[in-house]
């Protein structure tokens, strides 16, 4: 597969996941702008995570990062000779909260770029924004809204996360399209419908994997669903020791 090659070495493998932009897809000003935006958001995520998380959540952060990396290597087939893969932001946010999930996603994208040349380093800020921030923070907000509509997280978790997963992929596709248009790579009226059309299919994979993973965890280890800072805080406040914890709300 000759695409997305590194400047110095031709690429031989066939595992370039969806939405990972190559350096020359975006202009230098857009790349720098989104490096700056992503850096600021990561800084906020570090502070929020520092305030909110308990040590018990840390192993789940590591396992989620590993799972998302592994899942992103697996490109599944969608219509018309096109492939796509999980993003994972909504799944991570449902389990870890939006800020720790943002850190997990940024770590995955950083390792993909730094170690495996998947996504350029100049556009890494843009890739982190598209795949790690907008779908994760936006997707989490959509998830919470839908879960409330469905009668609370414990009843509506799986369908709410599935729908939020699909929408998170569409959000990422819109964001990528706007960056491509702003970079002069492709006009918005061309690239936006094309990106949305393809990612409407890829998002179905996101929805199914997100829902299946959460259903699996609900069936096997439901206690892992209560590690998220706001849920852990509520559980401990409702328990025997009503400790005033700093991890009040994740959003």
């Amino acid at each position: 597969m000759p695409f997305l090659s590194v400047a110095t070495a031709p690429v031989t493998g066939g595992l370039e996941p969806a939405l990972h932009a190559a350096d020359r897809f975006l202009s230098v000003p857009i790349s720098l702008l989104f490096w700056a935006i992503s850096a600021v958001v990561i800084g906020i995520a570090v502070r929020k995570t520092n305030r909110q998380i308990d040590e018990k959540m840390v192993p789940l952060m590591g396992v989620m990062a590993a799972f998302i990396f592994a899942a992103q290597m697996f490109n599944f087939q969608v219509a018309g000779g096109t492939s796509g893969h999980l993003l994972g932001g909504v799944l991570a946010a449902v389990l870890l909260g939006p800020w720790a999930a943002t850190l997990v996603m940024a770590s995955v994208i950083a390792v993909q770029g730094l170690v495996f040349s998947d996504g350029g380093l100049v556009v890494m800020g843009a890739n982190i924004f598209n795949m790690g921030i907008i779908g994760t923070l936006g997707g989490y907000w959509i998830y919470r809204t839908l879960a409330t509509l469905f009668g609370g997280e414990d009843r509506g978790r799986v369908p709410a996360a599935g729908i939020a997963g699909w929408l998170s992929v569409m959000l990422a596709a819109v964001s990528m399209s706007l960056m491509l248009a702003a970079s002069g790579t492709s006009p918005l009226e061309v690239v936006l419908p094309a990106m949305l059309g393809v990612h409407a299919f890829i998002g179905v994979g996101e929805a199914l994997i997100t829902a299946a993973a959460l259903a699996f965890i609900t069936a096997t280890r439901p206690d892992l669903l209560n590690l998220r800072p706001d849920r852990a805080a509520r559980a401990s406040a409702g328990g025997s020791s009503a400790t005033g914890t700093t991890a009040a709300r994740a959003a």
């Binding site: 998947d118 350029g120 020791s241």
Partner: protein, 113 residues
């Protein structure tokens, strides 16, 4: 979980009061490693969503990185068998992320600003 540890306590919550023990994440890592071994070689090599759009709308020619990473695209140099190379690079990435994110998380959980 009924509030056995508070966020400010540095003591790791390894007590058996909650069901969060040590073993679940070992199982989690095993599942992830199994996914890499079973699924990575089966991954579709068709162009992904962005590449499809890049081809269809004519900017695929710009698909180059100015600065690349350590290894090429999910392969380990010196290993010719593409399946083995993909699996090893997948396991390497999984291991790096486990260590990096675990350490970052632990620092953020323990050193409260």
């Amino acid at each position: 979980m009924s509030g056995s540890t508070n966020a400010s306590e540095p003591q790791p919550g390894r007590t058996t009061r909650t069901r969060i023990g040590r073993w679940w994440w070992v199982v989690g890592i095993a599942i992830v490693a199994l996914l890499v071994v079973l699924l990575a070689p089966l991954a579709s090599s068709d162009p992904d969503g962005l590449e499809r759009v890049a081809e269809d709308t004519g900017f695929i020619g710009q698909a180059q990185n100015v600065v690349g990473g350590l290894f090429g695209d999910y392969g380990i140099p010196g290993i010719d068998d593409p399946t083995v190379s993909t699996i090893l690079s997948g396991l390497l990435g999984v291991g790096i992320l486990l260590v990096v994110v675990f350490l970052v998380g632990r620092v953020l959980a323990r050193r409260k600003a």
